[in-house]
Point group: C2
Amino acid sequence: MKPTGPLPPEFAAQRGVLHIAGRPAERWAAQAGATPCFVYDPAIVAARVARFRAAFPEVDLHYAIKANPFPPLLAALAPLVDGLDVASAGELDRALAVKPAGAISFAGPGKRDAELAAAIQAAATINLESEGEADRALAQADRLGVPPRLAIRVNPDVELRGSGMRMGGRPSPFGVDAERAAALARRLIGTGADWRGWHVYAGSQTLDAQAIVDTQAATLALTARLSEAAGAAPPLVNLGGGFGVPYFSGDETLDVERVGAALAEALAVRPAGLAETRFAIELGRWLVAECGVYLTRVVDRKASMGETFLVCDGGLHHQLAATGNLGTVVRRNYPIAVANTVNGARVETVSVVGPLCTPLDRIGDRVGLPPANAGDLIAVFLAGAYGATASPAAFLGHPPALELLAG
Amino acid sequence: MKPTGPLPPEFAAQRGVLHIAGRPAERWAAQAGATPCFVYDPAIVAARVARFRAAFPEVDLHYAIKANPFPPLLAALAPLVDGLDVASAGELDRALAVKPAGAISFAGPGKRDAELAAAIQAAATINLESEGEADRALAQADRLGVPPRLAIRVNPDVELRGSGMRMGGRPSPFGVDAERAAALARRLIGTGADWRGWHVYAGSQTLDAQAIVDTQAATLALTARLSEAAGAAPPLVNLGGGFGVPYFSGDETLDVERVGAALAEALAVRPAGLAETRFAIELGRWLVAECGVYLTRVVDRKASMGETFLVCDGGLHHQLAATGNLGTVVRRNYPIAVANTVNGARVETVSVVGPLCTPLDRIGDRVGLPPANAGDLIAVFLAGAYGATASPAAFLGHPPALELLAG
């Protein structure tokens, strides 16, 4: 039997029939009309927002919509956060539907001219990723006759320790190297652009509070130094995110209160050049991962060479990350349950697989579960981030997953 | 500088401007109307079919449409092959549009009742993956009043050596264990079902001809033994596929002629119980991978900490496998070229990345290329299989890739 990750706190104490947002899992499947489906509980998102607000009373909260751009979820979340961060013109359109442009910023390498023009026209902030992109943004702004709102994403000289995806301290497609960032800022300000400040994103998915504390302190020092060299106070410093969620056995919840206390101390003694600056933390996964449950029905229970398989109607085509095929080196099991016996006794060892003709399509590898048969629902947790949109939905021609916002 | 895989033979000798199906890459991008786009050359597919026919004159050729279900490609390929293998009701619909049901078979674990009914109603062959699925298929056939066309997929007691995905010789969601397959066949035949025979798929993507020869010999012996135990000659034995293509540096083309010669010898002395049986080989990747080129335009050329990045408008969201995120343990570079200088001198080391905000979005890691700048086209080869549909197209909200069939 291989271990599975811990159930999110809202589900960890449940026994018997799994309830999502107060209703049984089967009720949600019936409401969706078919399985597989994703069910998102906005109350769990609101609880994460509240925890953030309590821990970071002076800091803005941005939502990185790449984690989950499902429009009803986005509409529910937008009023709770101070800003939305987008990564494409498609995401920009979704964000503009629910938030004013002044609260939207657009990061991401390789922004096309049409994407830069769309952001400038909408008056969203562009986080510039290179000098070349800066030139193209200025050219688009000239053409449109609109002063662009510009910030610079900086490739920091530090990386986030213990993060699932390191994005700093190394040659990178993301951001302008720290040593060249101030010169670019001076040049942008000289053109009359609306200078918005700095964006620094050093990594993602860490559970190590001290690593985040250290990275935020380094980011504060870096942006203070850059601001002085640029000769301009930044209206906003986006400190990035990096807050992880516990996916796997042994993972422990990130101590965000400790991060918040340390950041408050650091901000209290920040350099004078940042005295009027607002600070933001940009979170995707941490806000939405735990709100989502993926429900898939067992189609077949079969035995093979002494092992038992629960073959489900959902899998890799909707939940690529849960199968260990999105940036994971060693495949480990996400938290998983039989929906009518959540947290029940682990009486048998089974592998939970999907319907695709590939051995990659494995949601649970030799996990311990209560008995389950064809017709039962299986719940995969932490499905609220990087699920439906981060999976190859068209692979093998199965229907797309349905998505539901509870409430 | 890290190595890249070899260009497919149709492109390996080109110099200067890359031509696909006789026309310059830029002409295809113009025809698509935008980048990124996939261009598929049906002449390359036809050449692979011809090579197969010459090497396996007595064996049927099936196309596994999961490799590339683009309807125009499927329509071009269907008349060239003897059968189409599908893995979902969605694929079944696409196959029925271009091929009679008698030439279509449906494999894959976890077929839902509605999928089984669709196949039975259409009179396609179902490759049963378990006893439970057999019971459900018989129930659907009863309900519809149609005798079902049934074959059994066998989980063989051998695996395909050197294959990218092993699917035999171990507990598996795929197929009925060999030791139970004959009993199931007897039971099916006893119900009056139209008995179609055996399907054995031991692995995929191997370049080792001897491994395929050995697996085919073992499969022949296994199906002879099972047929005798079942007391019925199988009309068809699907020997599986497993033919690989050279993606990476050091990979060499599979010697299919050697496989064909060995199979002909084995078939010549096959047991009497298989005397009237037809044999099929089921290929996906080997038929279509090399026909496809993914064209993506450089949006930004940037320097970071001494390295150079070509940031493109295409990447992981269309080419998950090329970024090393679909079943790959060690990330290696696919063959890649600057489209206006194909096979030009490798004057600089660059990393070719996509527009997604994740370090996973890397098409070429420190590859040697001729000079390239913003506006240039980059070609990624071997994009004809497991490309557009096997990638998370909706991730980060960029437009889907366009697909074109040349000709």
